[in-house]
Structures are given as C-alpha cells and as structure tokens.
C-alpha cells in the first residue's frame, strides 16, 4: 500500500491546495452552527428590537456559506483531479511495467490476473483514493474541531461523548476483519466468473456443437451465486455499523442531557445554551466518525487491490536498451545450445549446433513438440539458452540486449497477433516510420490485395481487438506483411504459412524471395513442401537436431525426413 503512495508525489502541490481549501470549508462549516445559534439567541430568545443584529448575523452567515461553497468547489476540483491523475499514472505504470516484463514473469502471473489488475483492481483503488481524498482531511478536522469546541463548552459533558468513540472503533475493527475475509472470497469468485465467461465465449462453437450451453451456464451460475452470497453477507455486515454507531452516539446525547441537567442544577457555570451547543457538536463528531469508519472498512478492500497492483509495479524488471549501432550481417551460429523450461522434466532443445551463413535461405522442419518454436524464442532472445551459446556474426548473443537483437530480426510469429486499428496500422507496427507506399507494398507481397480491394476502406479497414473480424488466413497474412515492412538482416517465418492454401503461399513466397533477397531467411514449418527448396534444411525431432542438408541429401541420409516427406506427399508424387 505504502509503495503506491509514490504515485501521489507528483501532485504534492495540488494535494496541499486541496487540503487548504477543504480546511477553509471545514472551518466555515464548524462556525456556521455558532452563528445559527447566535441568531437564535439574538433574534428569538434575546431582546426584541435587535433586527439590525439579525441582519448583520445573516450577512455573516451568507458570507461564510459562500466562502465555504467556493472553497469546497475548489477543494473537490483538485481532489477529483488528483484521484483521476493518480489512477491514470498507476495504470500507465502498470502498462509500462508489464511491457517490460520477461516472458517468465508474464507467464507466472497469467493473462487473466494481469488484465484484472489493470482494470478492476485499478478501478477499486481509484474509488478508494476518491473516498480518501474527500475524507482524509475533512474527517479528522471535523472530529478534532467538534471535540475541542465541545470541551470548551464543558469538559465533563464532552467526556460522555468521547466515551462512545472507543466502542464504535472497536466495533469497526471487529467487523472489518470479518469483512476482509468475505471480500476475499467474493473477489476470488469474481475472477472465476470472469475466467469462465472468457473461456465460454472463446469456445462458443465447440460448446454449441455439443449442445453444452446449459452446462456452461450452470458453471457460471454457481460462481455468480457464490460471489453474490459472500458479497451480500459483506454488505449486510457493513450496514450494521452505521445504525449501531448512531444509537451509541444518541445514547451519549441522552447522557449529556441528563448529566447536563445535573451540572446545571449544581451551578457548574453552564447554561442551557451550552448544553444545546454540545448536542450540536455531537452530531458533527458523529458524522465524521461514520465517514472515518467507511474509510477504515474500505481499507482492506483497497489493500487487496493495492497488494495485487504492487505485485506488478514492484516487479524487478530491467528495461532493455536498444543499441542502434549494432548491425548484424545475418550470420547465425548455435553452439551446443540446450533449453529447458522452468520446472519441465525434459529439455525442449538439447545440444543443438548449427550454422546459418548470412544471406542464406534455410528451413527448420519438425513435428509437434520438436522444439521449433523454442528455437525461435531463443533467436528472438525471448528466452536465453540454459546451456551453450547463440552467436550473431560470431559474437555471443548474451552480450546484446534483447531489443538490440530483435532490431535485427524480423519475425512473423506462429500466432498472428493483431491489434484493434486499421490493417495499415497493424502492418506499420513492423516499422513505425514506414511510408504509406511501403505499407501498401508489404501488403501486396503478403497477398493482401485481394482482401483489401474487397473492403471499402482498403488498408484503412478497421480491425476489432485481436483482429476478431477477419479470418485466420487473413490474420496470418497481415502478420507476414508486418514482418516484411521491417528492414532487417534476418527474417523468421514461424509456421506463418500454415493457414494459407498452396496457391496463395506460392505467390507470396515468390514475391517475398524477390523482396528480401540477400537477407537471411529462416522458415519454420511442418510442411516439407514449404521447406524443400531451401539452401539448407534442419530437421528437429523431440528437441534434437537429427539431420541437416539439402532436400536431396536429407532424403538420402535422414530417415525421419524421409518419413515426413512420404507422409505429406502420399509416397513421392512430385
């Protein structure tokens, strides 16, 4: 919780201003009852003929009320600004932090948790901050001011009022413990509910195909019911506080009247007006106390959100500096490279040594689980080898930052990852400085012209988040165009043609080879036909390199390659 306070630091001045204005309004509000009772005393209970005095007091009151209004408006202006800015900064900090994280860190937290933290938890904290901003200054001031004024009137009577305070606070502390556990459970089921819904929307076709909608509905039903049950119990518990506190304070008022009468009789220098004033101050103290209780009760809720958020903002990440001066030629060497995922029994890649000369066209072929995608992760420095060395131009990749390496490697990833925005925006993500003509050219090479010409707005066609409104093959081609528009000495296409039919793939590859001639091109595939015309083919099987050579050589020497070839061509029609 404390760690997040640093996000308030930039707004020190505004916080001071907000406090100042709130202070002014509190002082005004505390003075108003005094003036009111003065009017009563003067005009009503006092001597007749003092109409001028009444008018004067009324003017005073008008001035004070006006000042209070102005101050409170200014105070709220700054307070809402601070809250909004605090939330904005917090969210931005989370965005930036997540974007700086490593793959291991993101994997550990999980997609759903990250999204909840950026949205729901930040919202909860914003709401708590808003609550605090309005009350953190006013509450103690009202409380202290009310108590002091009360004591000034009569010390003993104020003791009666103060006696109720520990009772109320004790009650709040007990209840807030109970609330915290109720909220924790309802928050958990909140996550479950959202997770189930996300899963359900994603699998809608399979669910409907098997007519299992009722089951999915039931699962969510159960989570919603669990969540609501705990939430309502929490609310009902919370609602205990205000009535109990009010009754306690009212008891104090009764005590004050009764005991006040005794003090009056004994002639303790107390007037009936003083007793009346004390009763008024009790209501001020009471309302401040109840607001304070809300803040105390919200604290656990906010604390959970704060803890979850600070798990992100306090994660140790090292921003990677990109060294613009490093320019690869395109030569890649792997020396006895092994990689093992954290906690995995078997290595995903084991003792791989290979050499890719600059400017060559090579393919990596292998089945499911052969380690192809892990190899791509290593080349993009998403992950670093657990053993062995990856070298670019003979230099150990460990000497470069990840982003320096990735500046030199352009890759169309296995899963085409698109963003909300136009097709052009998505392509331009490969090279933010690319001109419209360059974007159009990349789209042309990626065989997108057909798709584009059918859309009214062409490249300006707007995609929904994650490219939800175009087909898998179309997404793949946008992703390829994005890789093409980036200028790099090394290009990797990770199973990028799998959703394309052969005619499209052929046209695309022909145009592509033309475009990136002389650059290193690495094609990862399951299809022999995609790989066979490469300068060199590496065959991976269960994390090991089992063959390397040209198509012809491998047909001779590598039984696994022969098997793959036979399985895909139905025995050798070529």
């Amino acid at each position: 919780m404390k760690k997040l306070l640093r996000f308030l630091l930039p707004y020190k001045k505004q916080i001071a201003l907000a406090t100042l204005f709130m202070l002014i309004s509190v002082v005004c509000n505390l003075t108003l009852p005094t003036i009111m009772s003065r009017i009563l005393d003067q005009g009503v209970y006092g001597s007749a003929g003092s109409y001028a005095q009444i008018v004067r007091s009324c003017l005073w009151m008008l001035a004070l009320a006006g000042l209070s209004l102005g101050a409170v408006l200014a105070g709220y202006y700054f307070a809402t600004r601070i809250t909004a800015f605090f939330t904005r900064d917090l969210r931005n900090a989370m965005f930036q932090k997540i974007n700086e994280m490593s793959f291991e860190q993101v994997g550990k937290l999980g997609t759903a948790a990250l999204v909840t933290r950026m949205t729901h938890d930040a919202g909860t904290l914003a709401w708590a901050a808003g609550l605090l901003c309005g009350s953190i200054v006013i509450i103690p001031l009202m409380f202290l001011g009310g108590t002091l004024l009360c004591m000034q009137k009569d010390f003993y009577l104020s003791l009666i009022m103060l006696a109720t305070v520990p009772l109320v606070l004790g009650l709040v502390l007990i209840l807030s413990k109970k609330l915290a556990s109720l909220w924790e459970i309802s928050d958990k089921y909140f996550d479950v509910q959202n997770g189930l819904m996300r899963e359900r929307i994603r699998g809608i076709r399979v669910i409907r195909a098997f007519s299992r909608e009722p089951r999915e509905h039931e699962r969510i039903y159960a989570a919603i019911t669990e969540m609501t049950g705990h939430m309502i119990r929490a609310n009902v518990t919370m609602e205990l506080i205000a009535p109990i506190a009010t009754v306690l304070m009212n008891l104090a008022v009764l005590g004050i009247v009764r005991f006040g009468a005794v003090r009056l009789e004994r002639g303790a220098g107390l007037s009936a007006g003083d007793i009346f004033a004390v009763i008024q101050y009790v209501s001020i103290v009471l309302s401040s106390l109840i607001s304070a209780m809300w803040a105390i009760i919200m604290l656990p809720h906010a604390r959970v959100a704060a803890r979850r958020i600070s798990e992100i903002t306090e994660t140790e990440t090292t921003p990677e500096a990109c060294d613009e001066s490093v320019q690869f030629s395109g030569e890649i060497t792997l020396e006895h490279v092994s990689f093992r995922y954290e906690g995995a029994d078997a290595a995903a890649l084991e003792d791989i040594s290979l050499h890719i000369p600059a400017g060559s066209r090579v393919a990596v072929i292998g089945g499911t689980g052969s380690g192809k995608s892990t190899l791509v992760s290593l080349l993009l420095a998403f992950r670093r080898p657990t053993e062995g060395t990856v070298r670019f131009d003979g230099v150990d990749a460990a000497e470069y930052s990840g982003s320096t390496i990735r500046r030199n490697v352009s890759c169309a990833l296995q899963r085409p990852m698109l963003y909300a925005g136009t097709i052009a925006d998505n392509i331009r993500m490969g090279d933010l400085s690319a001109s419209d003509a360059q974007v159009a050219e990349a789209a042309e090479i990626a065989q997108l012209s057909g798709l584009i010409s059918r859309r009214e707005k062409g490249l300006g066609h707007v995609l929904t988040p994650s490219g939800g409104n175009i087909s898998g093959g179309q997404k793949q081609r946008v992703s390829i165009a994005r890789a093409i528009v980036k200028q790099a000495p090394i290009y990797i296409f990770d199973d990028s043609f799998s959703a394309l039919d052969f005619l499209t793939e052929k046209a695309l590859r022909t145009a592509l080879n033309e475009r990136i001639r002389g650059r290193t091109q690495l094609i990862i595939s399951q299809r022999v036909t995609t790989a066979m015309r490469s300068d060199r083919i590496f065959v991976l099987d269960q994390g090991r390199l089992v063959g390397a050579g040209t198509h012809r050589e491998l047909l001779e020497s590598c039984p696994i390659y022969r098997e793959i070839y036979a399985s895909q061509t139905g025995g050798g029609a070529a």
């Binding site: 009563l40 009503v44 009151m61 709220y76 909004a84 800015f85 965005f95 974007n99 793959f103 999980g110 990250l114 999204v115 949205t119 509910q193 997770g195 899963e199 359900r200 809608i204 076709r205 399979v206 409907r208 195909a209 098997f210 007519s211 299992r212 509905h217 309502i232 609310n235 009902v236 009535p243 009754v247 009212n250 009764l254 009247v257 009764r258 006040g260 007793i275 990109c322 089945g367 499911t368 689980g369 052969s370 982003s403 963003y419 057909g450 994650s466 939800g468 409104n469 087909s471 959703a499 052969f502 005619l503 499209t504 793939e505 590859r509 399951q526 036909t529 098997e563 399985s567 139905g570």
Partner: protein, 585 residues
C-alpha cells in the same frame, strides 16, 4: 457515444422500474420501514427539542434531572427502534433488491448468451461482454439499493417536514418550500450533466478492458517488434481519455452536496430575516420561528441525500443501459422440429446463398448432394468460403436463401440442438476448458466411463502422453496450459469427437497442428471414425484428402469443380493447379 441529451426520466429508468416488478411487495415493505424510520427521525429531534427547552426554561428548582427521565426513556426507545428498523431495512434491501439486480442480472446475461447468435459473439470482443457482466452489473448493484432507500426516505421525509411546517406557520413554510425546487432543480441538472460523463466513462472503460486484454495476449508480438513504447503510448492515450471523463463526472457528482448545503444556508437566512421581522411586528410568537428553523434544518439532510441519490441514479442508468442492450439482443428463434432417426446421413445444399455482411455476397447458388456415408472434401484457396460451409452445416449461421436438408428434412425448421447433435466436429482452433483431461475428452459425452475415455484417447494416439502428465487423466488443463503442446491439444479434441460418436462428422483442418508423422498414426483412427459416416473434411494438405469420395473445389463461394481426386487431376483445371502448387514452392 450518444449525442442525445441525457434526461433524468427516460426509458432506462422506466425499464429499471419495470424490471423490479417481481419484488414490488418487498419494495412496498421497505417503503413502510422507511416510513417508520422517518417517523423516528422526525419525532426524535422534536422530543429532544422539548427536553432542551425545559433546560432553557429552568427556574432554579431542584429535581430538574429527575423530571427529564421519562422523556429520556421514550427517546431511548425511539433511538433503539430507529436503529433496529434501519438495519432491518438495509438487510431487506441488500438481500432482495441488491441480490435481485446483481445476481439475477448476471444470471440473465449468462443465460442470454445461450441464445444469442454466434454472429454477435464473432464480432464482439470477449472483454466487452465480460466488462458488462462484471463492472456494469457491479455498478448497478452498488448503487441501486442505496438509490431506492435514499429516494424513498428522502421524499417521505421532505413531505412530512413540509406538512409540519405548514401546520406551524404557512408564511415561513412557503418561504422554505420556495427554495426546495431550486435545490432539486440544481441537483437534477448537475446529475444529468454528470450522466453523460458516466456513460462515456463506462464505454471507454470497455475499450480499456479490451485493450488491456489484447495487449497481454499479444505480448510476444510487441516484444518481437520492440513496440513497448508504441504500445505504452496507445494505452496511455485511451487511459487519458478515461481520465478526462472520469474527472469531470467525479467533480460534477461531488459538488452536488455542497451546492445543496449552500442553498440551504440561504433558506435559513430567509427564515431568520422573515421570521425576525414577523416577530418584531408581533405577527408571530417566537416559539413558532424556532420550530420552523428546527424543521428547516432537518430539510438539508434529505435534500442532500436525494441529490446524492440522483447522481448515483445516473451512474446506475449508464451501466443499466449497457446491460439492457445486451439482454435485449435478438435471440435465435426457438425451433422444435427434428430430423427423423435413425439418420442415414444424406445431405443436400439446395441453391444456398449466404453473406456475412450485406455488401459482400460469399456463398452463391451453392448446391451439393452428399450421399449417406460419403466422405466429402472441400478444398479451395483461403477465403473461398470453406469454413462458412461448416458454419452453415452446424447452423452457427442461417442461410440467406435456399435450404439445407438432412435425410430430406429441411433443417431450418429443426431445433439447432437437434441438428448439432448429429455432428461430431474437430476444428483447427482447439478449445479446452479449465478442467481435467478426462472431463475435456468427455465433453461431448458427459456420461462416458473412464474406460471409454481411455479407449478414445488410445485411438487418437494421446493416451501415451496423457499418462506422462503429473496426474494422468486427472491432470488439470486449460486453454493457456503450457504443459501440453498445440498438437497435443488437437489430439485431445480428436479424442473428444471419437468419443462423442456422431453420425455426421466435420473435420475443419482437424490435423493442422499435428505433425504429419503423428497424422499417419491417427489416420487409422480417423479412417475408423469416418467409416460409414458422412464426413466433411476441410484440409490444406491435399495429400490427406486424395481418398475422399467426392472433392468439392470452392472458389469465391462457388463450386467450380467436383469429382474424385483422379477425375479432377485428369480434368487439369483449378484443382490440378492447386495440387501441383504444393510441390512448386
């Protein structure tokens, strides 16, 4: 975002009231309780005032304290009763109103999703729907029971106080009442203004959610292109927009109360001036002015609460509008017909036309005849409409014109579940839910025994790898599982279809994630699966479909060629070109 003027009383409010019909008697009870609370709230200060008056009027005789005691006891009773009834009312409102609006609305959203057409889900980001389910309904739940209580008690209190004031002195009462519309109008204006910002805030909140989700799922693309700064910028922009409307909404919402306090002070001043003058003119006894002043002071609380309630109401309405939009979506019409059993599996497409969007006709005048037990392969370039045929067969989408029949029965009059229950389906896009391996495989046949599940997995060649998992068939897996590969996921979905054992089969790129060597292994299982069943197979790898009984070559939504592999090759047409292209890259 709507440009139309926001009003306090509009269709959404009416709808909220209508929605509350089933709980109207509980609400009536709550009004009754509110009445009791108000009575206590009015009586308490009255009695207390009387007691304090006696302190003022004390003449020095002893026994003052004792004489107050009966009054104090009555007051004690009133205070305790007020506390109890207040809590009781809150208990009622939470358990009835809050539960009604949050629990029931969430259940209804979930229930609604069973019947919305897939086309809606295809074009709506998941984050958007989840945002409505969780955040919007949450906002309604947090605000609505408060609103009801606040508005009920607020108006009741005002009515009672007004009545008492008029009974005291009509002139002063009139002066006070004259200020009431001013306060109410002012707060209503502020509240409606803030609603516009709340609306914007919820909408932008939805975008923010979608973007956060997109950003996390596209994590590797961002890293691959060093786009961290660019993505941060995108997020910051939308965040800033959210920030702007939030601040405005918050500010307008929070100034309502101080404004009311101010008008109330004005009201007080007017009473003091008018009352003072009337007293001086001997037109009014002093005590009446005191009473009216005390009443006027009680005015401020309900007014503030009403104002607060109005601004909360705007928030609730903004959220409710989005929830009702979802609940009011057109549903798939319920149908009750069915294909007569046993099904032989003869399928016809007769002159079928279909388009996803108006301006782009996709499937045009498509006619296909598939005999029972035939294996039909559908090939063609990307975007030719292959997957669309699956969408139509499975009735994820309805044909625009023409008809599809199974065993001569037009399916458009049959229930969707009936049609779907005839099909087994394996898609390229594997979907696994969070649950055990066994549960996932048995998804299409929930009553399957463990033996049946294992047999299906053996046939789909995934039994071996399942056994290597930490808890075997009971290992928990999910969509995001990293402990199994995409190929293995696909094997599980094949096992799922094997176990479901349906008359008709759809394989849409069913083996695209499986490597070809494994595919050869599965092929035997597939052959068994396909035997005596009518099958639709979509595949890029043409080698996998050479044995099909009928190959349909699709191009731009039309069938350009059809026949067996041999016949089509001999034709040397489009299929021949496609087939050759796989060896010519």
């Amino acid at each position: 975002m709507t440009k139309k003027k926001e009003r306090l009383f509009d269709r959404t409010l009416l709808r909220l009231v209508q929605e509350a019909r089933p709980i109207r008697w509980w609400l009536a009870l709550s009004v009754l309780l509110c009445g009791v609370i108000i009575a206590c709230a009015v009586a308490g200060p009255e009695l207390l005032g009387g007691l304090v008056d006696r302190l003022y009027a004390w003449d020095g005789q002893p026994g003052l304290g004792k004489s107050l005691e009966p009054g104090l006891l009555v007051l004690l009773g009133i205070y305790v009763a007020q506390g109890l009834v207040t809590y009781g009312n809150q208990y009622l409102l939470n358990n009835v109103v809050s539960r009604f609006f949050t629990w029931r609305l969430r259940i209804r959203i979930s229930d609604k999703l069973q019947r919305v057409p897939i086309s809606y889900l295809d074009k709506t980001p998941a984050g958007e729907i989840i945002d409505r389910l969780s955040e919007d309904v949450g906002t309604m739940g947090m605000t609505i029971h408060g609103i009801i209580e606040i508005l009920f008690t607020g108006f009741l209190q005002i009515a009672i106080i007004t009545l008492f004031m008029f009974l005291s002195d009509w002139r002063l009462a009139l002066a006070v009442v004259a200020f009431m519309p001013l306060s109410l109008l002012l707060s209503a204006r502020l509240a409606t203004k803030s609603e516009k910002y709340w609306n914007d805030m919820f909408n932008i909140g939805g975008d923010l959610y979608a973007m956060a989700e997109e950003n996390v799922t596209n994590f590797s693309a961002m890293k691959a292109f060093n786009l961290e700064a660019h993505i941060n910028e995108r997020m910051a922009q939308i965040n800033q927009k959210h920030n702007d409307v939030r601040q405005k909404g918050d500010f307008l919402g929070s100034i309502v109360q101080p404004v009311i306090t101010f008008t109330n002070a004005l009201c007080y001043i007017v009473i003091a001036l008018l009352g003072g003058w009337l007293v001086l003119q001997k037109l009014l006894p002093v005590g009446t002015v005191v009473t009216v002043i005390l009443f006027a002071r009680q005015f401020s609380t309900p007014l503030e609460r009403i104002a607060g309630g109005l601004s909360q109401l705007q928030q609730a309405k903004a959220a409710a509008r989005r929830v009702f939009d979802l609940l009011d979506l057109d549903e798939e019409a319920p149908l009750s017909g069915s294909v007569p059993r046993p099904v032989t599996g003869e399928i016809r497409f007769e002159d079928v036309n279909f388009r996803y969007v108006k301006e782009n006709p996709l499937i045009q005048n498509l006619s296909i005849h598939v005999k029972p037990g035939q294996n039909v392969a559908i090939v063609g370039p990307t975007g030719a409409g292959k997957t669309t045929i699956v969408n139509l067969l499975m009735r994820f989408y309805d044909v625009d014109s023409g008809r599809i029949t199974i065993d001569g029965q037009d399916v458009s009059v049959c229930s969707r579940d009936d049609t779907r229950s005839l099909f087994g389906m394996v898609l390229q896009d594997t979907w696994l839910f969070e649950g055990s391996v066994a549960e996932n495989v048995a998804y299409g046949k929930p009553d399957a025994t463990r033996e049946q599940i294992q047999a299906a997995c053996r046939h789909a060649y995934c039994d071996r790898f399942i056994r290597t998992l930490p808890q075997g068939y009971d290992t928990k897996i999910s969509e995001d599982s990293t402990n199994i590969s995409s190929g293995q996921k696909q094997l599980l979905t094949i096992a799922r279809a094997l176990l479901a054992d349906r008359r008709l089969l759809i394989l849409d790129e069913a083996t695209s994630n499986v490597d070809t060597r494994t595919e050869i292994l599965i092929q035997k299982a597939m052959d068994r699966l396909m035997k005596d069943r009518t099958c639709f197979i979509i595949a890029h790898r043409l080698s996998t479909i050479v044995d099909a009984d009928l190959i349909l070559v699709l191009r731009d939504g039309r069938i350009v060629e059809q026949g067996t592999h041999k016949a089509l090759l001999a034709q040397k047409g489009f299929y021949y070109e496609l087939y050759q292209s796989q060896y010519a890259i």
